[in-house]
Amino acid sequence: MLGNRSFRLGVHIVTGIILCALIGCRVGPGGKTPVTFGAVLSLTGDVSSWGDDSSKGIELALDSANRASNKYAYRVVFEDSKGNSAQAVASLKKVLSVDKAVAVIGDNISGPTIAMIPTLDAARVPMISPSASSPKLSGMSKYFFRVYPSDSAEGAFMAGVASTQFHLRSVAILFINNDFGAGLRGVFTTTFTSQGGTIPITLGYNEDETDFRPYLARVKAVHPEGVYLAGYYQDGGSILKQARELGLAARFLGSTTHEDPRLLKIAGDSAEGFIYPFSTGYDAASSDAAVTKFRQAFTAKFKKDPGLVTALGYDCANLLIAAVEAVGPDSAGIRTFLASTRAYDGATGRMSFDANGDVRKTVRLKAVRNGQFVFTDQPQPVEAK
């Protein structure tokens, strides 16, 4: 059989095909080196809008990079964590073991992100999150970075605003039962009580809760001067509206995650006077070059205005792209590049990562006035560290 000419020809053909396939795998389109990023995001579930928005920002960044780069062909493999920690870990393992991602973007929320850290450490692959904000993540791993400030910044800021600016002496807290809500609750409580305030009641609600009247009835019973909402725009909007229905007269304070046009759609007039911090740094009205470039590119591709979560996803992807362009598609090199990032100008402002992988941004105060989200304070100079 070995002497058969047809058989030998067939072996050569098959070998050639296999070799071509292998070569084809190593070299991307146009002879560029393929680089794969993984993106484990909450694409479905209770915070699917965040996953969807950040994925658009990531896609936009990769499109631009693929047009501009001569050396690398970037691709991202999206996996859906469903806002679920176990699913996030499984998705992370898949992008690391099957797709061989050199770096990962994710998750949008803190619970799944915290769950992924041990796997990240074991694999020695860097991960950058667009919006996970739990204080627990600070310094949890040298492979973890985030472009969204820790809750400790905005939680402490709002506690200070409540006590020194609005002179509130008692503030009830309604928080969503996840790492994000629990983190904010913890920081707010510690700071507010250290400044002489009291927290008469703290109530956690589940992520799928839609009827907040039983919670608000309990809050109303303790007559707080203020109510601090540590949740997202969907539950925040429902809470504001239902609080007005119940006649709860208190000043409502919230978190950065409440800034979304859909909050106004849900709450309507009930949102008037709602105060919240703005800590992500994305200012749609800014004329900075990076912000303008992002906004124009997004509008041209998606035919609508971008939101802050999209900008955060965009910055995550661009940071990884900048790292690869500088040091190549090597996970260790990317990690070192990110750790040494100083004064990077992104769509969400100027960023630097500290030793804990956290980003420092100025927190400003915003409010809902006449159906619009407006700044109530003067912008502070951005710190570049």
Binding site: E209, I266, G268
Partner: protein
């Protein structure tokens, strides 16, 4: 206490409509159709899709969505379940099939609407009227009235009308009913249509009062089962009373115990009513 009673009445009214629909279908089929709750959710989403996404005015989108979802419900209750029974499938197998149907319909909604929860009501607070120490809006009052009227109507129909007796006859023994001259297919069909219409109507009303999510279907199915079994001695109209009783229990748990125990209350009630009301038929005593 007023807030508790008000909440009980308002939530009980939605539960009553869906439970009445479930009870009507259950009276004839004897099957726990777990896909029943997803019809309520689908009606809300259909109204959202037609009204908000396609821009069709409410006077058209509301009846269209009710009709569309009623057709799906009719296909399941009036077509699928009787066919499965005639083919010899046991009630537990049909229940498993209905669960699979719920999964399919839920996933279809997730694909079409991307897991977004919807709310069709007005953003502005409607002052409403004071009732039992709580405030009730015109829409909520309409829902309560509709559920009570439907319950009373079906109770009177079941007791005093020919149609009601036909439903009872077909539910007890379709073969004997057929021998006695009852058009079983017509009764099954009309009953299924009524059940589906009630549920779809409840879905549209709910979407104007509270946020709706594709994953709520199972919870509504379980509430309907609990209410139906609780009021089983009074027939389908008993489901209305069972629903209001469940609404009261749920409100007591939410307002007096812990608001996070809503689902716990639902499933605990399920376990209790099944254990209390279910009878083992044709099996020997084992001591």
């Amino acid at each position: 206490m007023g807030a508790i009673l008000g909440a009980a009445v308002v939530s009980g009214s939605i539960y009553a409509l869906i439970s009445l629909g479930f009870a009507l279908a259950f009276r004839i089929s004897g099957v726990f159709n777990l896909a029943h709750g997803i019809l309520l959710v689908a009606a809300g989403y259909a109204n959202y899709g037609l009204g908000t996404l396609l821009g069709i005015p409410p006077w058209l989108s509301i009846p269209a969505s009710i009709l569309l979802v009623s057709l799906i419900g009719f296909a399941i209750e009036g077509g699928g379940i009787p066919l499965a029974k005639r083919a010899g499938l046991k009630p537990v197998d049909i229940m498993v099939l209905s669960w699979l149907m719920l999964v399919v319909l839920q996933d279809v909604l997730i694909i079409i609407f991307s897991s977004t929860s919807i709310y069709m009501g007005s953003a502005n607070v409607v002052p409403g009227w004071a009732l039992l120490g709580a405030r009730i809006t015109p829409l909520q009052l309409f829902t309560v009235s509709a559920s009570l009227a439907a319950g009373l109507g079906f109770f009177l129909m079941a007791r005093f009308s020919v149609s009601g007796r036909e439903i009872t006859a077909v539910g007890d023994n379709p073969l004997l009913a057929s021998i006695c001259g009852v058009n079983v297919k017509r009764v099954v069909g009309l009953n299924a249509a009524a059940a589906a219409l009630l549920t779809a109507g409840a879905g549209v009303l709910f979407s104007y009062q509270d946020r709706l999510d594709p994953t709520l279907g199972m919870r509504f199915s379980i509430v309907a089962i609990v209410a139906t079994l609780a009021g089983i001695r009074l027939g389908p109209a008993g489901a209305v009373l069972g629903a209001f009783a469940f609404g009261l229990l749920e409100s007591l748990v939410l307002y007096l115990v812990d608001p996070g125990l809503r689902d716990t209350a639902v499933y605990f009630c399920l376990l209790v009513v099944v254990l209390v009301t279910y009878r083992r038929r044709l099996l020997p005593e084992t001591g």
